[in-house]
Symmetry: C3
Subunit: 342 residues, 3 copies
Amino acid sequence: MIVQKIAELIGGQVQGNGEVDITGIRSIEDAGEGHITFLDKKKYLGQLLGSKASAVIVAEPIETDKVQVIASHPKLAFAKLLAEFYPEPRPKAHIDPRAAMGENVSLGKDVTLSAFVSIGDNVVIGDNTVLYSGVTVASDCRIGSHSTLHPHVTLYRNSVIGDHVILHANAVIGADGFGYTPDEKGHHVKINQIGRVVIEDHVEIGANSCIDRATLGTTRIKEGVKIDNMVQIAHNCVIGEHSIIVAQVGLSGSCTLGRHVTLAGQVGLTDHTNIGDRAIVTIRAGVLRDIKSGEVHGGSPNVPLATWKKYVALFPKLPDLAKKIRKCENRLEAIENKRPRE
Amino acid sequence: MIVQKIAELIGGQVQGNGEVDITGIRSIEDAGEGHITFLDKKKYLGQLLGSKASAVIVAEPIETDKVQVIASHPKLAFAKLLAEFYPEPRPKAHIDPRAAMGENVSLGKDVTLSAFVSIGDNVVIGDNTVLYSGVTVASDCRIGSHSTLHPHVTLYRNSVIGDHVILHANAVIGADGFGYTPDEKGHHVKINQIGRVVIEDHVEIGANSCIDRATLGTTRIKEGVKIDNMVQIAHNCVIGEHSIIVAQVGLSGSCTLGRHVTLAGQVGLTDHTNIGDRAIVTIRAGVLRDIKSGEVHGGSPNVPLATWKKYVALFPKLPDLAKKIRKCENRLEAIENKRPRE
Amino acid sequence: MIVQKIAELIGGQVQGNGEVDITGIRSIEDAGEGHITFLDKKKYLGQLLGSKASAVIVAEPIETDKVQVIASHPKLAFAKLLAEFYPEPRPKAHIDPRAAMGENVSLGKDVTLSAFVSIGDNVVIGDNTVLYSGVTVASDCRIGSHSTLHPHVTLYRNSVIGDHVILHANAVIGADGFGYTPDEKGHHVKINQIGRVVIEDHVEIGANSCIDRATLGTTRIKEGVKIDNMVQIAHNCVIGEHSIIVAQVGLSGSCTLGRHVTLAGQVGLTDHTNIGDRAIVTIRAGVLRDIKSGEVHGGSPNVPLATWKKYVALFPKLPDLAKKIRKCENRLEAIENKRPRE
């Protein structure tokens, strides 16, 4: 594909020879002759200029003899280009005869059910949705259209999955929330979890992640949320639109996240925590108190990131501080002993 | 169902009109007309009185025109009621012809083997046990009666599962413990893990959790233990009766928990840790030393919770403390410089 | 088997009666009459002498009437012995008719495909490799020889698995890396992940672990690496030869580990972290900065272990230090007030 064609595709302007032929898309580190790459941050400019890349997507023109495509969001343009050059492969729609079907199942147009898929009673699946090998859908689930369920995904009963949703391998949607109450002997009596999970449109959930169903009511993952691998979302949580949850995060029961929240990797939230819109929680933080909209918190227990950075910087100095205190005490004693008593 | 009938079911006393008809069970937040709810903690009394709930389970009579059911443990009564109104649905017992069976398999009465279940040689399964789609049971396993194995559970060879056990989707029981020893070149030689896992009666294990088999001997989960999602129990651990382990906890090898221990979410234990009966470890603690019976520990490395709370409260004051020390030093210097030398 | 035979097997020298018959291998705690065990650390000598073990593998002769086998690495000898006495059972090679096969699949000699295995198009599998029930291999994957894929392992497209590799149940190899870029409205646009995963020879990966495929290029797990359960390796990471990664560790994108690195349980690495050869990161550390070859780090954020130990020891003394500072201030004030003003 020639650069001119790429520019049209991503809505950018060519600067240089638009007839140059592009044979592949690469990151700056790997770009060679015939490749197009993108420049997202100024700090990679040197690396770009040192590379043999034939073309580059940039926000503003730079000094180079490479062909440039000027686009306001180079990384977004790059994402569009990748999607065009390397679209996610999808199987030709088919119902494998080795799929197990319940009663009263309703399938849309061009649905794929691979081998060893198991569908319960009263399940509804929308158009163009793909279920890969071993996916298990319990009774009374609804799955929208244009969604993809990777191998061995499990949906417990009554789960609702929207359109354009991607669930990665072994994701478990709607398993029982973790709820017990002790009897007279201190044995744990199960509180039946009779709620459900709703996953709205354009959500992606990583491999081996779990979204538990609500005790009563609904655990809800709202539109556009992206969840990484091995994330645990407990019963009755609500995750606001377009939030990002990175790998190995754990949310205890009944947490509420606003819109556009970011939880970095290995963060943990205690139960009933509320996090406001656009708040950010940094890597490995332990959230024991609510966070207001727009705030950035770190540490465990969480505090504003700036505070956390200050005291973390002091940790390695603690032995020295302790020593200084001891010296102050000694000096005080020396002064006090020398002074005349009253 | 009328309130009078509900009271009989849970062993409570009606106060008010026992003929009122109940159409659903709800938490206080969601309770409306026709619903019964429960009051567990005094702090929710206002919310209860503001709701349209028709009836409420309480430990002691309150002032309200709602119908009351007096029961000594309202939450336990509520759990019983949920189980009665909304029993866990179970499939009608059947052996799906698409299940793969080994040799010398012994099945009890009314066992369910769903499609794509795979059973190895010499496996024994007790009465009324249900294996959902894709469950894989290796050779020489024994599973008790009235147990439920959700989709894609894997039992490695020789695993023993008791009665009334629930294993959630993708739980892995009996995978190899993580054991190697370096050879002359520093390459890791596998130590074959030839032990097994025993899971006793009334245990529940969450989705995507792993219980590794012992190197030699037995990894044992004792009666009544409840384990949440994504919990890792390494080889040769022993978990005491009626303990609770919340999501994403990790136990290194050869840890021992007493009875009624609670490990909150994301806790980690170093190897060979011993935790006494009824001890509690709070959220995200890192346990590097033993904990005695009845103690409550937090922090990483763990200390008694009260200690941890004290020093955590001081973390944000560290920059201020450092500043104060500097000031003390300056003041000391000023004093020392003014004092006549000896 | 008689002791003399065992000594020959592991290349050791018998001291005592080589004709004694051995009926089992045990750890020191469990060893009884007829058993052989091993002594790895001096501190277990008392326990050994108190046991009824008939024979023991030791590095140097000890005073005992048990038969001794002298071998330079007792634990390594023990591992060899376990492998000989209790070899990992493997099924007789067979292709189950219930396996689902794609087009253009190439199988080596003596491959096992169990029931409900699903193989995509253009897959190549080497000699003597075993795929257990429910394993799903997407198109264009290559798997070497003598490898074992436990139940419900998923390989996404283009994954490459070496020889003598073990993948435990539910491991997910090659799922999409977690990559998005915001559009004009702040919605997350997926960056198609078009790279792949390569897992080299003699690697073992634990149950429910995930290795994500690269955005562009390769996520690589090099020869001899051992990875425990529930470990998350993000896109574009490279793990050096013979490294050890313990359970529940998480690596963010583009991290690089050298050779023989050890990451203890629940460690987390921020993105683009580099860790040098033979470095060790202790349990639950949060790695926010690079670690040089041979260094040992702990804490979160990570510092050299010795530093971490010092300041951790001071945490419980913080309230006391704060009190001491207050006292110093008071004493200073008293002195200052008493001194004649200038």
